[in-house]
């Protein structure tokens, strides 16, 4: 801080106070009183509405104070709150233990990308977009393209993520996603080749988490698979210098010397699509598709990825206080099998909706 000479000290002190033009000559005391009173009245209105809603929905003729304590109990003793529900084989959002949240898919969410999808599982929202670029393939694999997968958790997704404090899960989910997609064999890299040894496609898949409410990997994988299903490979042709350029739609007619290199093949053939389900193990219970609150209280997560032919692509259990016995593993795999059927039908519906347009 630069120091000012003595006469200007008063000026400096005045200018560092926040200047509110509307209050004019009002002092701090008046400002405080005004803000405090308005806050008090607005809270009164809000609380009044909330307690009214609780009275209506509660069906309990008991006193108001016991209803208000439910939220407090949930914050102070989260484990006991959830176990009270687990005893009745249900969860706080009225789901049975093995059921996942409502899932929806929208293809073509990003118009400027070559393939994109928006996936929502409950409140968890993921936006995936694929952009293709032509590159020279490396010498070790001259007739294969490549895929670069990146997963971002911007501060919009969760109050725990701030620009200087990146989320711990982001690089883990990113690596898990790239391992799963590349090892599942969903995409045959040879299909991404254009001219052997000279040109091949590089597909950049970017997945943005817009809302993080548990099961991040499931939603991200679903969005990635949907984006690849929606992918339309751009038409390219060789220009005069022998380089591969993208043919834009307007120049289609009249350029007979520019033969499109890949006119026929515009979509990727996806062989076996991987789908996943994350479960929580807690004592003897297995909870499918946890929310962020459940994940933070009961820390043992198991993520099972199966492909559409029933093969196990990945079983990921990163530690956790509860040990997974063979029976629990079998139960998780059975829950995942059911979920794979649900997700396949949701994806097929979304694809057929797109094709109708």
């Amino acid at each position: 801080m630069t120091s000012h000479s003595q006469p200007s000290v008063l000026w400096q002190r005045r200018s560092t106070r926040r200047y509110n033009p509307f209050l004019g000559f009002f002092s701090d005391y008046h400002l405080g009183l005004f803000v405090g009173l308005s806050l008090f009245y607005s809270l009164e209105v809000v609380l009044g509405n909330k307690t009214l809603k609780k009275m209506v929905s509660a069906n309990v003729s008991g006193d108001l104070s016991s209803e208000m304590e439910v939220d407090a109990f949930r914050r102070l003793f989260p484990l006991r709150y959830h176990e009270r529900f687990l005893l009745d084989s249900i969860r706080p959002d009225a789901r049975p233990l093995g059921r996942a949240r409502d899932t929806s898919l929208a293809l073509g969410a990003v118009a400027s990308a070559d393939g994109s999808a928006l996936a929502k599982i409950g409140c968890t929202t993921m936006l995936a977009a694929v952009k293709m670029e032509v590159m020279t393939p490396p010498k070790e694999s001259p007739d294969e393209g490549s895929i670069a997968i990146e997963f971002y958790m911007p501060p919009i997704c969760s109050p725990l993520v701030r620009p200087g404090r990146p989320a711990e899960e982001a690089p883990v989910v990113s690596k898990q996603l790239s391992d799963t997609i590349l090892s599942s064999g969903m995409i045959n890299l040879k299909e991404l080749s254009l001219v052997s040894g000279k040109a091949a496609w590089m597909a950049y898949l970017d997945i943005y988490c817009l809302d993080a409410d548990g099961s991040l990997f499931d939603a991200a994988l679903l969005a990635a698979v949907a984006a690849f299903s929606h992918l339309r490979i751009p038409v390219v042709s060789l220009n005069e210098e022998g380089r591969v350029v993208v043919v834009s739609e307007e120049n289609e007619e009249g350029k007979s010397e520019k033969e499109p290199v890949n006119k026929g093949k515009r979509k990727l053939t996806l062989s076996s699509l991987p789908f996943s389900l994350t479960c929580i193990l807690h004592k003897n219970y297995i909870l499918a598709d946890p929310t962020a609150e459940e994940e933070s209280i009961m820390e043992t997560l198991v993520t099972v990825v199966l492909d559409s032919s029933g093969q196990l692509v990945s079983l990921y259990k990163p530690g956790g206080p509860v040990l997974a016995y063979a029976s629990a593993v079998q139960d998780c795999i059975a829950l995942t099998r059911q979920r794979v059927k649900e997700l396949k039908s949701i994806l097929n519906e979304a694809i057929s909706d797109m094709e109708v347009d």
Binding site: E168, P171, L312, L315, K317, P318, G319, A324, I333
Partner: protein, 245 residues
């Protein structure tokens, strides 16, 4: 059914590479250990418990922090993933309520990598925690099981074998408990406690039955490894004349 799988170093399918564990090798660290399986060698150092926890962590429990240093190159996403897996695995074996509001740091340095790196690191970290006298519930033994193209399961692959394989799985089990009471070993619905998985990380596509075979083989091998761990940790315990017995 004798499976004659020609492994490059002449081992059978179930044979582990020679294991070596030494403790208390670093002077300044509160606990340290080095673990080697064949040519894969990892050094682990433990500093802690130190006062204070990080911002988002629960101050009523002890906190564990892991730093993974690769042999060469910069720290990237694979290292961050290993850090998170190690952190969660070690968190589940530590008794976190004993020293609340403290942080224990575990630093892993890869000395040489010849396959099965993550299991080697977990074993080294476990031995280092014992050396630092951090209170633990039980130890963890980690093993790598590979699936060949023909469907056989082999244990503890070298790097060359790992890259050739169809799929592999890193499995971590709790070590087997020796109890003086005959019915003492805890049973969970007919299964022994040491058959439960603490951590499982798989890579590559395999069928569900193959994975369950890997689990069985891993459980059998973990018994051998926990016997080795127990022997090596006991034999290096300092002879303290002030202690009873």
């Amino acid at each position: 059914m004798s499976m004659e799988i020609g492994r490059d170093d002449g081992r059978t399918a179930n044979q582990l590479r020679p294991l070596a564990c030494s403790r208390n090798i670093l002077n300044r660290a509160h606990g340290s250990a080095s673990w080697s399986q064949g040519d894969t060698k990892v050094l682990a150092a433990v500093y802690g418990p130190k006062a204070g926890t990080k911002k988002n962590e629960n101050p009523e429990k002890a906190c564990i922090e892991v730093v993974w240093k690769p042999k060469t190159g910069q720290i990237g996403k694979p290292e961050k993933e290993y850090e998170v897996i190690l952190k969660r695995t070690l968190k589940s074996i530590c008794l976190l309520n004993i020293n609340p509001n403290t942080t224990t740091s575990i630093i892993i340095q890869v000395v040489s990598d010849d396959g099965a790196l993550l299991p080697c690191a977990i074993n080294a970290a476990c031995a280092a925690l014992v050396d630092a006298a951090i209170p633990l519930k039980h130890l963890a033994v980690a093993i790598c099981c590979c699936l060949t193209e023909s469907g056989y399961v082999i244990l503890d692959p070298t790097k060359v074998e790992e890259q050739k394989m169809k799929a592999f799985a890193y499995l971590v089990f709790p070590n087997s408990a020796i109890s003086i009471i005959p019915e003492g070993s805890s049973h969970m619905e007919g299964e022994l406690m040491e058959h439960g998985i603490i951590t499982s990380v798989t890579h590559g596509v395999m069928s569900v039955d193959d994975y369950l075979h890997c689990l069985e083989r891993g459980q059998a091998a973990s018994t051998k490894m926990s016997a080795f761990l127990r022997r090596s940790l006991q034999s290096q315990a300092p002879n303290d004349s002030s202690r009873a017995g």
